[in-house]
């Protein structure tokens, strides 16, 4: 498994992919966090979908990670795309047969690729945390937001908790991307179906019937990133509920995809 992971890292570290993805992470992390402070007095709201996050909330111990937790869902979408593309392209390039000849243990291949992509996602999350918290620290004084509590014991706890939540969420999104890549065997199909579902279909379904947000996979994973409150929702999803339902979705998807990957013939 580790040999597969190390080999996969050779692919993931290539400049176009690595720098391109990290550039997007830096840009959007900075943007999400900056808007919180730059638009703090805007009547249109300063967070996603017109949500208002005021000075009082930003001044709390959790204020420093407001931007980071907001960008968590977006990091999830990036992870979904990267995981889906890296998995499905083995089919489109025809390279899967090379992999299986050199490493016939199919589950090892799957696990190794997953480990490598998880490491890639961790770098992405770590970078997003630094950029978004850094941007918050720089912009807070100008927005007259107190940062006194941000790095105290509660603040450090909030940073750690948010970091872990974002990791769980992003890995969840990434895993769904990997499953879509395995099932659809085409990067374009896997990414477009995944992104369409998460960004459009789920939101439409929730708009039609609000209670559905408790049961849709994307909503659960977003809720995990934000510690229990999904972005832009009218009502909150409990963290434990999101963890349970999201976990079930991911576990079922992984089981089905792994079974198919192990059993399916590699015919082309």
């Amino acid at each position: 498994m580790w040999r597969v992971a190390f080999a996969e890292l050779r692919k993931l570290r290539r400049p176009t992919l690595f720098l391109g993805t990290m550039g997007a992470v830096v840009f959007f992390s900075a943007l999400f966090s900056s808007l919180l402070f730059l638009l703090i007095d805007s009547p249109q709201g300063n967070s996603d979908r017109g949500r208002v996050v005021g000075r009082a909330v930003l001044g709390l111990a959790t204020g420093g990670v407001q931007g980071f937790s907001s960008v968590g869902g977006f990091l999830g979408i990036i992870a979904l795309c990267v995981f889906a593309a890296q998995t499905a392209q083995e089919y489109t390039y025809g390279t899967l047969r090379n992999l299986l000849v050199r490493q016939p243990g199919r589950l090892r291949i799957l696990l190794g690729k997953f480990v490598a992509m998880k490491l890639f996602a961790l770098v992405m999350i770590f970078l997003a945390a630094i950029v978004s918290i850094g941007a918050s620290v720089i912009l807070a004084p100008g927005a007259k937001v107190s940062t006194d509590l941000w790095f105290g014991p509660d603040g450090r706890q909030a940073i750690l908790t948010t970091f872990v939540n974002v990791i769980i969420s992003v890995i969840g999104f990434g895993t769904i991307g990997m499953v879509l890549g395995l099932l659809l065997r085409s990067p374009i199909s896997a990414i477009s179906i995944g992104v369409l579902w998460l960004l459009i279909v789920e939101n439409l379904l929730i708009a039609v019937k609000n209670s559905l947000q408790d049961w849709l996979p994307g909503a659960q994973l977003s809720a995990i990133a934000s510690g229990g409150t999904p972005r832009g929702s009218a009502q909150s999803i409990e963290y434990s509920h999101a963890l349970l339902v999201g976990g079930i979705y991911v576990a079922v998807a992984v089981t089905i995809a792994s079974f198919l990957f192990v059993r399916r013939d590699v015919a082309n």
Binding site: R3, R10, K11, T16, Y93, R97, D265
Partner: protein, 288 residues
């Protein structure tokens, strides 16, 4: 099985160690399916097989000693040739120190840092062969290794396979270039519609064939007379490429020569020869 259709059945053959074994058959005869099965890429619905003493049900036991290129080369386009080889070396647990040497061995040393997507078809093919050589294999399985190569490249691959076999590597190679296989192969497995129609030494196959006598008269109009002479003597004869092809023992060439002389025909060519692999292949597979 592909649905109700058996892609391969009654395919019993052995490949001796340390030989170059050609694997031939018309399109759709099951060559690639066989190779996929032997490499553990697809699971046969029945039957047994062994490679290097291990059942094909456990490819993990023999694949570390097997190099393969099947269905053409396939690599990551955004990585260079060397990065692609390093990727596979890391995956297989082989040292990456030898990748440059392998690239030089297949003539890609100076293009090692170029991205795979910039390679020509011949260069891609060479990289595929280099990847197959990564494990320093005991068995090398190559599917159409000379596709896209220029005559010089074909010659190089031929020499490489011969050298590997001389050094003890067993080479199992499929190709539609039967003349190439005839030159390099010691052994042959011939498939037709998923069934083995011949397995054995290539010389045994060719020597078992009815020799052909090729005759050409001074004038083109002589061919019809020569044809009737051959047929009246009970031999199967055809006119192809401006010459008479007669199936029969090489001794009959002397009789044909005398009969032609008696008919007032001066022969420009009279050559008794064994059919080549291509002719034998067409004869045995019923392909044109």
């Amino acid at each position: 099985m592909y649905g109700e259709r058996a892609a391969l059945s009654h395919a019993t053959f052995e490949v001796p160690l340390g030989t170059v074994c050609g694997f031939v058959g018309p399109n759709g005869s099951g060559k690639t399916t066989t190779m996929r099965m032997l490499l553990g890429l697809i699971t046969p619905s029945g039957g047994t097989g062994e490679i290097l003493g291990h059942s094909i049900k456990h490819p993990e036991k023999y694949l570390p000693r097997v190099g393969a290129m099947i269905e053409g080369p396939a690599f990551y386009p955004a990585l260079s040739g060397r990065e692609n080889l390093n990727y596979l070396a890391t995956l297989g647990g082989f040292s990456t120190d030898h990748t440059q040497g392998l690239l030089e061995q297949v003539g890609l040393g100076d293009r090692a840092k170029s991205k795979y997507k910039t390679y020509s078809l011949g260069m891609k093919q060479r990289l595929g062969i280099a990847a197959a050589l990564l494990p320093n294999p005991q068995l090398l399985m190559l599917d159409e290794p000379t596709n896209g190569l220029d005559p010089e490249g074909i010659q190089e691959v031929r020499d490489l396979l011969r050298t590997l076999a001389n050094n003890g590597t067993s080479v199992f190679v499929s190709s539609h270039l039967l003349s190439e296989l005839e030159i390099i192969s010691d052994y042959l497995v011939m498939l037709r519609k998923g069934e083995v129609v011949f397995t054995g030494k290539i010389n045994d196959l060719l020597h078992a064939q009815q020799p052909i006598i090729i005759a050409k008269g001074q004038n083109e109009s002589d061919l019809d007379t020569l044809l009737s002479i051959a047929r009246s003597a009970g031999h199967h004869a055809t006119i192809r490429d401006g010459a008479l092809h007669v199936e029969g023992p090489k001794e009959w060439a002397a009789i044909l020569n005398k009969a032609a002389f008696d008919a007032g025909i001066t022969l420009l060519q009279l050559t008794p020869q064994l059919p080549n692999l291509e002719e034998t292949f067409f004869e045995m597979t019923g392909e044109k």
